[in-house]
Every structure is written in structure tokens, then in C-alpha cells.
């Protein structure tokens, strides 16, 4: 049975697309058949994050408007043959599609027998958001430990509840353990208490993400990336395995060593 998961946040720039790319790729690496859908019509990005930008022939709008079949528009990943991408249209805007059409598209994807469909939702709470959530079975909310991002996450959680996607799970992105320890960044506990939602995962701030984005290779494929490990853990939780949260203290590495060096 296909499970359709929409990745939302409200606020832009908190890591929705990176999260979508890593969850999609991670689930495929775990042996699942996965489709990643870029629902950010007009501002397509998921294709470059997964390094498939040169293979695009058809896009989501072409499928919806009947210019091509779904299978023609689904791009097979170059590294993982159970991973597919349905890119957004770059030249249209969010009004080029409506929630009913999105619902139909999701039904068509279910018929293709994917295990998981990951929908990358655009920022905001307007049409693009309503399109992205229309066919989803469950929602993941991405936020960072900042006042603005958590506030928007709260709004999105409220809207998801109002649209039948109750109990969304939270991914807390870009945690900086040193700042949390110092009392200058909200912790996982702080954020989950304020938003009153379950945590699906915590992802440490990781320079590797920048490198991965440069190369078009999601961090989940890299053994050296702490964020990649965090995404692999999240993937296991989505599949249904219980995995303890990462011990972020251990990932201090450089700072930890310096601290010892200075003897504080």
C-alpha cells in the first residue's frame, strides 16, 4: 500500500526540500519504491538537490494537463533504481493546478504501487500548500529552533489539523548542540513542549549539507555526514522501526576537543 507523506513547514528556508530529498532517497536506499513530488510550482528545486535537473523532459503540470503519461514524467534516479522524481513546472505558477487535480495525481501514483510518495510542499499557507496536502495520508512538519520558524510551524500544524491531517510529526532541523548546551538555542524538548507534537527526528546543523547540495547528492547517502545519519534514523522510524534519537553531544567533535584543550 502506498503511503503519501507531505513535507511542510510554513516558513521558507528551514530545509523542506533538503528533508524531502533525504527522506525520499533514504527510503529508496532502504529498499522501498519511492516517488518524490516537487509541488513547488514555479520555484522548482528538488531536482537540483537530488542532481536530476538535466533529465527533466516533462513535469507535474504536463501530467495533470494530460500532455504526457505519469510514467513518462517520472525521472528515475541515477544512483537508486527504486527512486523517482516528478519535477515541478518552472514556467507556470501555483494556480496552474488545484487540489482536485492533485488528488487525482496522488491516486494515479497509488496505482503505480509506490511504497512511499514524498511531496515537497512550497512555503506559505496559500494555494500551493493546499495543493500539496490534498492527497497526502500524513504530514511531516520541518522547523528550526527559532522563534519565527516555530511560530509558522504552529500555524501549519493548525491548518493540517483543520484539513484532516491531524497529528503531524515534527522534524527539528539545524540543531546546534553547543548553542543548546549554552542556553542560547531551544532544545528538542523545548520545541516539542511548545508545539505539543511528536518528534519524528532531530537533524544537527551540518556543513556537509552545503557540500551535498553543491553536488546534488543527498546527505543520507554519505556515511560521514551527521545530518545524513539523522535522516537515516528518520527513515527507519517512518518504516516503523524504533530508533533512539541521535546523541548530539558526541557530534561536537571539533568544539569538544577545543574545550578540552583550553581546559574549561
Amino acid at each position: 500500500m502506498t503511503e503519501i507523506i507531505v513535507v511542510t513547514s510554513g516558513k521558507g528556508g528551514v530545509g523542506k526540500t533538503t528533508t524531502s530529498a533525504n527522506l525520499g532517497t533514504g527510503l529508496a536506499l532502504a529498499g522501498k519504491k519511492v516517488a518524490m513530488i516537487d509541488a513547488d510550482i514555479g520555484l522548482r528545486n528538488l531536482d537540483v538537490i537530488v542532481g536530476l535537473e538535466n533529465r527533466i523532459v516533462y513535469d507535474l503540470i504536463d501530467v495533470v494537463e494530460g500532455h504526457c503519461r505519469l510514467k513518462q514524467a517520472l525521472i528515475k534516479d541515477k544512483r537508486c533504481d527504486t527512486l523517482f522524481l516528478l519535477p515541478a513546472a518552472q514556467t507556470k505558477d501555483k494556480d496552474a493546478i488545484n487540489p482536485e487535480q492533485m488528488l487525482k495525481l496522488c491516486d494515479a501514483l497509488r496505482e503505480e504501487e509506490f511504497d512511499y510518495v514524498i511531496i515537497d510542499c512550497p512555503a506559505g499557507i496559500e494555494q500551493g500548500f493546499r495543493n500539496a496536502i490534498a492527497g497526502a495520508d500524513r504530514a511531516v512538519v520541518v522547523t528550526t529552533p527559532e522563534v519565527s520558524a516555530v511560530r509558522d510551524a504552529d500555524r501549519i500544524i493548525g491548518m493540517l489539523n483543520a484539513n484532516g491531517l491531524g497529528s503531524p510529526k515534527l522534524i527539528l532541523n539545524r540543531i546546534r548542540p553547543q548553542l543548546v548546551k549554552k542556553g542560547d538555542m531551544m532544545s528538542v524538548e523545548d520545541v516539542s513542549e511548545i508545539l505539543a507534537v511528536d518528534i519524528l527526528g532531530i537533524v544537527p546543523d551540518d556543513e556537509n549539507i552545503v557540500v551535498c547540495a553543491n553536488k546534488g547528492e543527498p546527505a543520507v547517502m554519505s556515511d560521514k555526514s551527521p545530518a545524513g545519519q539523522a535522516y537515516r534514523n528518520i527513515v527507519q522510524r517512518i518504516i516503523g522501526h524504533e530508533v533512539p534519537f541521535m546523541d548530539l553531544e558526541k557530534k561536537e567533535g571539533f568544539m569538544g576537543k577545543l574545550k578540552k584543550l583550553f581546559g574549561s
Binding site: E146, V147, V150, R151, D154, R155, G158, Q178, L179, V180, K182, G183, D184, M185, M186, S187, D190, I194, M255, L258, K259, F262, S264
Partner: protein, 91 residues
């Protein structure tokens, strides 16, 4: 980078997280109350207007937005209510 290292080692510094939490709690309370408030106002307005005209309740929208006063330019929150009228009753 050096600045970061010293900040990390500084004892007793950095309690801004509590400030963030307090501000968030206040902001979220306002956000949540406002949404319910608008729903309540919408319900009441519909009930009053019903006495005078038939309106399209499905497409009724209500919002509060910062709007500049045309004469003074001063920005104040203004309540906007859009209700498509289907029919106006004669007395």
C-alpha cells in the same frame, strides 16, 4: 570562529533560549486566540446580516490586515469582511 569559541567557553553566559521560549508562548497565544476570535466574529456577523439579506455563507471571508489610513497614512489593523450578497430583502 574565534568569537564562537570564546562564547562557548564563557561561563554563565547565554540564556537567550528562555527569552525565545517566553516570546514564542506569547506570540502563539495571540495567533491561536485571533483565529478563534475571527471565527466568532464571522458567526455573529452572518447572524446579523441574515436579517437583511441572503448571503453566500460558503464564500464568506473575514480577516484583519494592517491598512494605512488614506488621509493620515497611519497604519492600523482593519477588519475586512467579504460576503457575496445573493438577495436583499425588502423590509
Amino acid at each position: 570562529m574565534m568569537f564562537d569559541i570564546f562564547a562557548f567557553m564563557r561561563k554563565g553566559g547565554g540564556e537567550s533560549k528562555q527569552v525565545a521560549k517566553d516570546r514564542l508562548r506569547t506570540v502563539l497565544m495571540n495567533d491561536r486566540v485571533n483565529m478563534q476570535l475571527l471565527e466568532d466574529i464571522k458567526y455573529d456577523i452572518i447572524n446579523v446580516i441574515k436579517n437583511y439579506m441572503e448571503i453566500d455563507e460558503e464564500n464568506f471571508s473575514i480577516s484583519i490586515a494592517q491598512t494605512a489610513n488614506k488621509a493620515t497614512g497611519v497604519k492600523t489593523p482593519v477588519l475586512f469582511a467579504d460576503f457575496p450578497i445573493k438577495k436583499i430583502y425588502k423590509n
